[in-house]
Subunit: 266 residues, 2 copies
């Protein structure tokens, strides 16, 4: 599960790495079913669009077995430990729906901007992982990155409380244009099971999903254990307060769950 | 400029054909400059988003030399004549901006739905051509098609006067989902100069452009001369009333204009 030198250079330059098909179709299908189960729950952690469809399920690794295992999967824990140089804890865990027709925009932002301002996370020694649970295409609201934008530290931002149902520190257009003049703008697309690893400083956004297909992505935010947050302004199921190191499970931990479920169904 | 048998079969099955790089980078650059000149004009044919930036310039082939030539270019006139089996006139000519950050959504619709209901065009014996004047990527609001949806005639639609600044007969979500179950949903992307040819019955949409890059596309709607509209409910610069056959110019007509401009600048 270690990244190659070439991958490390790539990550340093662009601020992200893309791994198409990192999880198998069976693993992706399992996790998609888990997402549907979670969205059907009436819990405070499940936020909805103004239309009522699910937008985000927070902390789903605490109340769902598939997501518990994903949150300790070596395919994501080990590369992140490698780049952050040490043990990590789970700062945030979101299953973002971006439902067909209804999925709303996420404006341009850096995640670390919010973690610093709202949670007093000392350094950007934290990493995002995105695991696609649906095929992500040009049609259904892919994640947009500005390559290289992680090199600039925390960029000035304003607190957007109006555009969407989720408060976010967002960048101004002039700043986004300036960054994109240098780095361009990319939209990694690939099949369900693909994985993105991206810097907590990388400037990103995602458009609304007007397509007839869902676009579910799990976002895990992993932080070095020494770099845990100092302020507890947000709900503990949004910005977690359990700072102990994650121990990676076995690589087949999701396949075992699939086998258990199949056996139970027989 | 004739389509091959294979292309004709493809078009019949999917309702569209994609020609990446059909126009050269020089030709695309010329037309992008023409678009900027047109958007800077204060004319009734240039419609704007609520923010003030240009959304659509109608009938630009009548007041701009580059677009006049594009409207008679053999690379689009000849394949359309071939499929529609005869001479064609220009029913509509739009330069759609979909500006960076501001470019708004176009909901799911069939163009012929509007032409039949509003303009009394007798048959769907008409074709759309899209010429990309910017690179179209997954990031900047690409056109979305439902392949095969042109096979179903005019689908039920409602008149949307509210969602955007342009009135449109749009399809319901259940219908779009039903069509996409069968045909899927594609977003052809490619460099500036690429060309799409698509049936006037093909169900399509395009999302908002939240990226920092523009996404300008020229749309030409060509109609068989015998199939001209019967009702004149819309402005004549939106739904044209000049039904005479277009005579295709030479293939180098845009290159000649580039050469003329270069000479004049020397």
């Amino acid at each position: 599960m270690q990244l190659t030198d070439h991958q490390l250079i790539d990550f340093d330059k662009n601020g992200y790495l893309f791994f198409p098909g990192k999880f198998s179709p069976d693993e992706a299908t399992l996790l998609k079913q888990e997402a549907e189960a979670v969205y059907a729950m009436d819990r405070k952690e499940v936020w909805r669009e103004s239309s009522g469809v699910a937008r985000t399920a927070f902390a789903a690794h605490r109340y769902n077995e598939g997501f518990r295992r994903l949150g300790a999967h070596p395919r994501l824990i080990e590369p992140v430990e490698q780049v952050l140089d040490g043990s990590v804890y789970m700062h945030q865990f979101k299953v973002n729906a971006k439902a067909a027709f209804d999925g709303d925009v996420w404006q341009w932002h850096q995640d670390y901007g919010t973690w610093k301002r709202d949670d007093e996370m000392p350094e950007p020694r934290a990493m995002n992982i995105a695991v696609f649970l649906d095929d992500v295409t040009a049609a259904n609201g892919p994640l947009l990155f500005i390559p290289g934008s992680h090199k600039l530290g925390v960029v000035e931002a304003g607190h957007d409380l109006e555009t969407t149902s989720y408060p976010l520190w967002t960048l101004g257009r002039d700043k986004v244009s300036e960054l994109a003049e240098r780095g361009g703008c990319v939209a990694p697309t690939g099949p369900a099971g693909s994985m993105l690893m991206f810097s907590s400083l990388l400037v990103h956004a995602s458009p609304a999903n007007i397509s007839p297909f869902d676009r579910t992505i799990v976002y895990l935010s992993l932080c070095h254990v020494d770099n845990h947050i100092r302020a507890f302004n947000r709900e503990e199921w949004i910005a977690h307060r359990e700072f102990k190191a994650i121990e990676a499970m076995d690589d087949n931990c999701l396949m075992e769950l699939i086998a258990e479920r199949r056996q139970a169904a027989e």
